[in-house]
Symmetry: D2
Subunit: 352 residues, 4 copies
């Protein structure tokens, strides 16, 4: 099926939802990919995209896509590359079927993240994990494959920790302050969040305590050896539209100075060919020195929303290590943007 | 000077500011205290209160006080009891002078909190610290005295930890999500906080890492022996009007079960005569069992804003202990309400 | 069926929704009424109230009701008085059936507001409309009856205009800024309203252009003669939790001075027995003189949420009359609180 | 002094404030103008820009300007073109002096807007008013001149009304919902605006009732003949960061259909050379057809923040004409962006 002459046609699953919309927005004018198929649930199928989708981002969907017919989830897709913004249950069935039918699926869903032969790709930190696609093909007889991106809160945590792996990460405490867009649309009722914080997000803390360990792990044969560290997470929802802020405290096995941390973050770029991919930010990790940054509204668009912004580096007397704040745009770096970068890596690696 | 026949006349220093207003609001109809003197900076002195103060709470100031003339900071006050909502520098000079002139000053300012002979009173947890007033009188030849209440974020931390002291508190990590009213009026600009979090509050983290240790300490002769534990704090500002939410992780020297924690909190009432004081809440610590509580807007008025609400009790794999959320109303329990309760204790103890 | 010895048992239809919860909150400790039956849709029926309802107000539901079983909409209710917080379609069927079965239904639903023999009661301004209950009984052979309260935005408009009827109201322009609680729960998604205004509320403007004319009309035989004035409305949703603010411009047939307006509002109390009813506010209309009031957060609780607050009275050069701002609490005066006051009037008038 | 070979050097007065920052942001990469001089009050002068300015927009100031020294208000400026974001009093003195010294001042301040020989330029609707610069030069013996842009709320009103002038605008009612950035920084305290609306903005309503009449007027000899219509304004502040939304009702002397309105808006482009200026939006007025638009957050960036977005066109029974909503970005179209477009027009017209 694959025709990888660029532009490569792509399908978007769950195209009408909040993350689906972000896929459409970010793929407008993409140098390699062309949105060819919009796929959504039965309720939307058969309508034009503008009829089916309540556009929640700024401005409008691209005019050509607005007029395009939405396909059902069981459509016979033609695009070699598929982006999935499906909810859990639908993702489980559809993504597996499409991978078997020869599509490369870059998924934002959590369904297969912890499946041993499926990578949680964050190219700057674990591009080598893409080789699990070969394991999938061998094991399941597929010509396609599935690559996931991480939970939207795990993204800034893993990205901020990755350059620090040489210092021996032993333990990590995370408290998140997450944006409402992380819950999709309609998502968080305004009656719950105006003048309020909701200190609970269903199912989020266990993800945050495991996914980063897989992402930060090393490829060992046909699976990932998780990073050997202990993590503890508390997740809260705050009245912010986009981007998740995390307070992180780390204990290292090595002696580490503040300069060591800064230098590691500043020097971090990720392995070839990642820095040259179209969606890769110039600096995967940006360190700010002002006393009151990073801030969600003022820093979320750093690197077109693909950078993780770190600041407020201070010793942590309890961990005997360091604490800092980190932030990433949850629907860009933590969702659609990361899936697109993952797809670019898979194209460059020849999986498509 | 003292005339402690009730009602006792009180003066409010810094009466026009946000905490000063909360003093006025909470003292309306108080069974023991009667607001007799309103004191503020030069800019306000000589005006009526309604001219001088931009009322930022709901409704209106009491009509009799609205028409009362505001006195200057150097006025010769007649009230035996003084509540201070002054900013740091002014507090330092004025509170000391008034204590020397025979007034009992219950202060919300930070100026003297760490002074060895000045207690940070939170009556349910350290009523015995009130005895430091005697030390002050002896040392400075005063007939008055100074009692402070804690930083508004330290209040829920100390209150939640106090019932857990028997389990051997060794280490505490705190991440706060604080309301904008904590910065007073005009305080936090709306351009900084709408759709945003500001992960920094000047001078707050050091207070949060020391004040609870003094509050939780034991009176040893003429000073306080701080609780021997290590604390680490990260303070953030969120778009919430009132009440500070804190995520707390604790390591204990003893083995502790979730039931141990619940039981300790639920049984906690504080020593006599505290539970019978007019402003004491029925339950100093209220434990909620819903998965998504405590929430600032929905829980801040528990116990008329004087209770600390705790929830989301979970093991912390990093600390090897427990983590939970705690919340208290920052301008009631964390400021004016606590000062009033402190004053009630001092009256009952005969210091006034 | 009727047993009007107080306390009178009441049933709440739609008890689990946002307005239903407000009914429960406001009826706690009511001197005449006792909540005996909680009724909701099939999804909730059979569960206890605390299982069925996600409490969105502050604090908790009363403990005795929390444990009570929720009844289905087709239950054989025993309470002579029924408060309805049902959505439109359900209200249409159930309220009619209950009125026929001898219940007095005080409804917050819009289903029967424009029915000629059904009053839209706002007791201070149109207590005489209650006589339509007799018309209903005669026409339909009922022993019960239906009284509605107005749309939540029409309430402050009608209340502010009522005292001005003697000046000859000819034309009224209204622009509303409405709270999110007006849309119920889950209602307005936070992604739609944080840092935003939505200048549209489905079906709201036609209601606002007709209901006040019925409410302000005169009883003429067995129906209401609408107030003869022309109204124009624009309705918007703003990021406010509770209370609707309206900008109103009026043209009068008489010459009117600012003092005339102030005097009319200040003197307004409503006819006997309304001022003595348990839920009647001391002042139905409160005039504020500050340049920047009324404000939703600071004025919504005036008169326990039952007063309409008016301010910023200025000549309108376009209308040749006056313009002002008015505000009322949408889920109290504009919904549950008004229904309760209506019921008190009906009891006092002997309809129950 | 003038050296109008492009790029033209420009100075920014009040460079550290919120509007000054927007000037810097919008001028980054401008094809004609180069920011050469940053000017601010004594408090900032002598510091580098990054020391003096607390950057409140997203991201960072351009690196070269961040390191540049801020000049005092009485500096001897070299730039032929000056953008002024000064507060009223400072603007009055400094702008007059600079115009006399040969600079062309494009001002966002209100000081000279109602001065007969000073235009309030909105190029698409009144480019001919630029000829008042000649009147200024003749009258005051200047080689420079002053052009203002309108109040930020008057901008969308004037822009939406301009294409409707042929229909005979007789009367206009406006109710505004304005963003907090309109008050500058620190501006509106968060304690005033979270969960609230403030229905008052000092001095704003009189501006809104006069400035549009000047802007929409015709050049008659050496002054502007104001549009002969009556205007009434109510101004409110809502919890929105950027862009002012206005509800407008208009009475026309002609019969007008909805199609007439749509056609007039859609066809509107402004006279040559305006459509070709670098900052001119493709469509000065964009009409949206969704029932719930325009919305501040979703529409403010239309045309890079330079378009006025109109929607919800409905007959107004009170005015006997039409009502609609209009929106423009207050710190772009209503401030810095408009000043830059004005400057482009003055360059193209040869005044510089």
């Amino acid at each position: 099926m694959a025709n990888t002459q660029k532009p490569i046609n792509v399908a978007i699953l769950g195209a009408t939802g909040a993350v689906g919309q972000r896929f459409i927005q970010l793929l407008e004018g993409h140098p390699w990919f062309r949105v060819a198929e919009l796929v959504a649930s039965e309720r939307s199928a058969g309508k034009t995209y503008s009829e089916a989708a309540r556009w929640v981002l700024s401005g409008n969907p691209p005019a050509d896509l607005a007029a395009q017919e939405v396909l059902p989830l069981d459509a016979d897709l033609q695009s070699p590359l598929v982006f999935s913004a499906l909810p859990g249950d639908a993702a489980k069935e559809v993504e597996w079927r499409l991978a078997g039918a020869g599509h490369v699926v870059c998924s934002n869903a959590s369904a297969y993240r912890m499946q041993p032969e499926v990578p949680i790709l964050l190219p700057e930190i674990n591009a080598e994990h893409a080789q699990l696609i070969k394991v999938q093909r061998q094991k399941h007889g597929w010509s396609g494959g599935i690559a996931t991106n991480s939970n939207c809160t795990a993204a800034p945590v893993a990205m901020a920790l990755a350059p620090l792996r040489p210092f021996g990460i032993e333990a990590v405490q995370v408290v998140s302050m997450q944006a409402v867009s992380g819950a999709g649309y309609p998502g968080v009722p305004s009656l719950d969040i105006i003048d309020n914080v909701v200190p609970y997000i269903g199912g989020e803390e266990p993800k945050l305590e495991t996914e980063p360990r897989k992402m930060l792990g090393a490829l060992a044969g046909d699976q990932i050896k998780f990073l050997d560290c202990v993590m503890s997470a508390t997740c809260t929802r705050v009245p912010v539209l986009d981007s998740h802020l995390v307070s992180v405290s780390v204990r290292f096995s090595h002696d580490v100075s503040e300069d060591n941390l800064r230098d590691a973050w500043t020097a971090f770029v990720g392995p070839d060919p990642v820095p040259g991919l179209p969606s890769a930010p110039e600096s995967p990790v940006v360190v700010r020195s002002e006393p009151d940054r990073p801030q969600p509204r003022r820093d979320r668009d750093t690197g077109n929303g693909m950078s993780t912004v770190v600041g407020r580096i201070r010793p942590c007397p309890v961990m005997g290590g360091w604490k800092f704040l980190a932030l990433a745009h949850n629907t860009v770096r933590g969702a659609a943007g990361c899936s697109i970068l993952n797809a670019e890596l898979l194209v460059e690696n020849g999986y498509l």
